[in-house]
């Protein structure tokens, strides 16, 4: 039972990180109609800047801020130079273009990580543990859960209450009408990309924090698991991104924790479970759990 409680906390914590990534993914999709395959690249940029700068003399908060700004600016640049210029082209063409960006950025960061194999993180949590009765959880996991949940709540509130949040929802609902009502769609799209970059950097911090040794080339493939999270929930649903993230995080951590009972499924099964769950969900609901079914009008 203790193990189970530990795993659930760990799973929710990882799930909140995936949810943050999936949220950025969904926000981009809803406000600019683009599926951003460069999302792992944004995460890598943020995480790389945080890891490198925090190793020097700078305080951690400054490094974190720099990483968040770097990822946000990178996302904004991608939106201005690539997505905006390709507006009106097929979704698949823009999607492949973001894949090209992802290849370039990931190659460069993996090259910079170089032969060290990883860049260690110097976050304030380190490898300390928290004891809640018999349940032992790393501090970094608790921090991840709290910070990510805070960001998600903040985002939801911002989307409901603020002027730009409402504008973003209007564009997602009906872009041409929103434009006619005076919503600046270009600005909304730029805002969505920047926001997604910021969220990706925060998620990146917690992916490279303990128990991971730091930023590794394989961090990108961990970030990729936010795609099944977004798909499980439905690409066009904010609530779906959060649920999808939690499902993927819980499934992964539980499969990892009970790996000794699941040996018949092979080693490393936890890593592919998100994709398996995704395929099963898609078999039943082709638009994800909360996604709007595409309707055809003749």
């Amino acid at each position: 039972m203790t193990l189970f409680a530990q795993l659930v906390i760990g799973g929710l914590s990882l799930g909140s990180v995936y949810a943050l990534l999936a949220l950025g993914f969904v926000v981009i999709y809803k406000s600019s109609g683009v599926v951003n395959f460069a999302h792992p690249a944004l995460l890598m940029i943020g995480a790389y800047v945080i890891a490198r700068l925090s190793a020097g003399a700078l305080p951690f908060a400054v490094a974190l801020l720099a990483g968040v700004v770097a990822a946000g600016v990178a996302a904004l640049v991608a939106e201005r130079l690539l997505v905006r210029r390709m507006s009106g082209r097929s979704v698949i063409a823009v999607t492949i273009a973001t894949l090209g960006v992802d290849v370039i950025v990931e190659t460069e960061i993996v090259r910079r990580i170089g032969i060290d194999a990883y860049v260690p993180t110097h976050d304030p949590w380190g490898d300390r543990l928290v004891h809640l009765g018999a349940v032992v959880v790393p501090q970094s996991r608790i921090a991840a859960l709290l910070v990510c949940a805070g960001f998600i709540a903040g985002f939801l509130l911002w989307q409901r209450r603020s002027r730009w949040g409402v504008a973003m929802r209007a564009v997602a609902e009906d872009a041409p009408t929103a434009g006619l009502m005076g919503v600046r769609r270009g600005t909304v799209s730029a805002l969505a990309w920047t926001l997604a970059g910021v969220l990706a950097a925060v998620a990146g911090l917690f992916i490279i924090a303990f128990p991971s040794p730091g930023l590794q080339p394989m961090t990108a493939s961990v970030a990729l698991r936010a795609f099944p999270a977004a798909i499980i929930g439905g690409l066009d649903s904010v609530a779906g991104a959060i649920v999808g993230g939690a499902v993927v995080g819980l499934a992964e951590v539980l499969a990892q924790g009970y790996a000794s009972n699941l040996t018949f499924l092979g080693t490393g099964f936890a890593g592919v479970l998100p994709y398996l769950v995704m395929v099963l969900v898609l078999l039943v609901r082709p638009s994800g759990l909360f996604g709007v079914r595409e309707l055809h009008r003749v």
Binding site: R89, G100, V272, P286
Partner: protein, 373 residues
């Protein structure tokens, strides 16, 4: 949508009349060059050619699926892996480290392609009902599931260090290295690379020709109709689901055949080769070549598959490249990834029709200058 797909571009009537002869001449010249290469180039270039043709066959399947039928797949490397491991397992005599059935190589190759097709059919209930990007991400799952299976089947893969691929042979003719020392034909070295070159050339030309015949006939028209307006295609009587599944089946068989060639060309296969980045490479090939164009897929495959080896060969001469591990500069493999990543982005921004579009522009320019009647 149409603007991104050059295949939908119908040439003007007068151009149509003049073009076939020039195109046929160019194709014959290329074929002649292909036949002459083993007499002109050394084993290094022949080996690059083998890699390129193996990639080209799989890329033809990709361009059929994405360029013609408009379905995004990131799972191509999975089907390539099915072909490569299928051939290796079926053709290899089993030993202590890895299993095998020891079938004749020709039978193994055919069965491996059938196996890849069967895998495509198994996935088609999902493939046929998902659209666009949903399909792209679902097929991404296929690659990870495949990697998981490979990582847990050491009898199939020979473990992390990979396993060697049995040489191809037809009847008494072996396409492997000659155990009895080099042989000569017409005063030219006649070894593994030379023989394989012709084998690969025959397979690639056949795969190319078959795809072109499909694109020009009923299936091609049906796929393009589905790609451009799925609902309309259904209304005018195209069986949408069946043709989508058909495209997926054919593309996975092309990928399987590409995998067989890949295994034969590399002689040793390692599970991690067949990851997501290989799928992205195939995507880059067809985008660089021009979506939906068979010749473009071959050109793009030659570019992407040949680049690392060529850069490596000239690393000492090219500025900014490191010639050996640890030397300053960018390694050739990294430079190759930068190049094709940038090529994809730049082409999509400025020439969405890819190399095929550039070639078409070059062909048209002199014609435009000609005085009118």
């Amino acid at each position: 949508m149409t603007a991104d797909h050059p295949a939908a571009d119908v040439p003007a009537p007068d151009a149509k009349r003049r073009r076939p002869r020039a195109a046929a001449t160019a194709r014959l010249a290329l074929l002649g060059l292909g036949l002459a290469v083993p007499f002109l180039a050394d084993a290094f270039w022949l080996q690059i050619g083998l890699f390129a043709m193996a990639a080209a066959v799989a890329a033809l399947g990709m361009t059929l699926l994405l360029g013609q039928a408009g379905q995004l797949s990131l799972g191509h490397s999975f089907f390539v892996a099915v072909g490569a491991y299928g051939y290796t397992f079926l053709a290899a005599p089993g030993d202590r480290l890895a299993g095998g059935l020891g079938l004749p190589p020709v039978v193994a190759a055919v069965l491996a392609v059938v196996l890849a097709g069967a895998a495509g059919v198994l996935f088609s209930p999902i493939a046929a009902r998902l659209r666009g990007v949903y399909l792209g991400i679902a097929t991404l799952g296929l690659v990870f599931l495949g990697q998981h299976v490979l990582a847990n089947a050491p009898r199939l893969t020979g473990g992390d260090n990979g396993r060697s691929v049995p040489a191809f042979a037809v009847g008494g003719l072996s396409f492997g290295s000659d155990p009895g020392g080099p042989q000569y034909l017409l005063n030219v070295l006649w070894g593994r690379e030379q023989k394989l070159w012709y084998l690969f050339l025959v397979v690639t030309v056949a795969a190319y020709g078959y795809l072109r015949s499909l694109i020009r006939a009923r299936p091609g028209r049906a796929w393009r109709a589905i790609r451009d307006r799925e609902l309309m295609a259904g209304i005018i009587g195209v069986p949408v689901t069946r043709y989508k599944a058909y495209a997926f089946l054919l593309s996975s068989m092309y990928a399987g055949l590409g995998g067989v060639l890949f295994a034969i060309a590399f002689r040793r296969i390692v599970p991690e080769t067949f990851g997501v980045s290989l799928s992205i490479e195939y995507l880059a090939m067809v985008v660089i070549g021009g979506l939906g164009v068979a010749g473009g897929a071959v050109a793009g495959a030659t570019f992407v598959a040949g680049l690392p080896s060529v850069l490596e060969r000239y690393a000492g001469v090219l500025p900014g490249l490191s010639s050996s591990a640890g030397a300053p500069g960018v390694s050739p493999a990294v430079a190759a990834r930068f190049t094709y990543g940038a090529a994809v982005v730049v082409l999509l921004l400025f020439e969405p029709a890819g190399l095929a579009g550039l070639a078409r522009r070059l062909r048209r320019r002199p014609r435009a200058r000609r005085p009118g009647p």
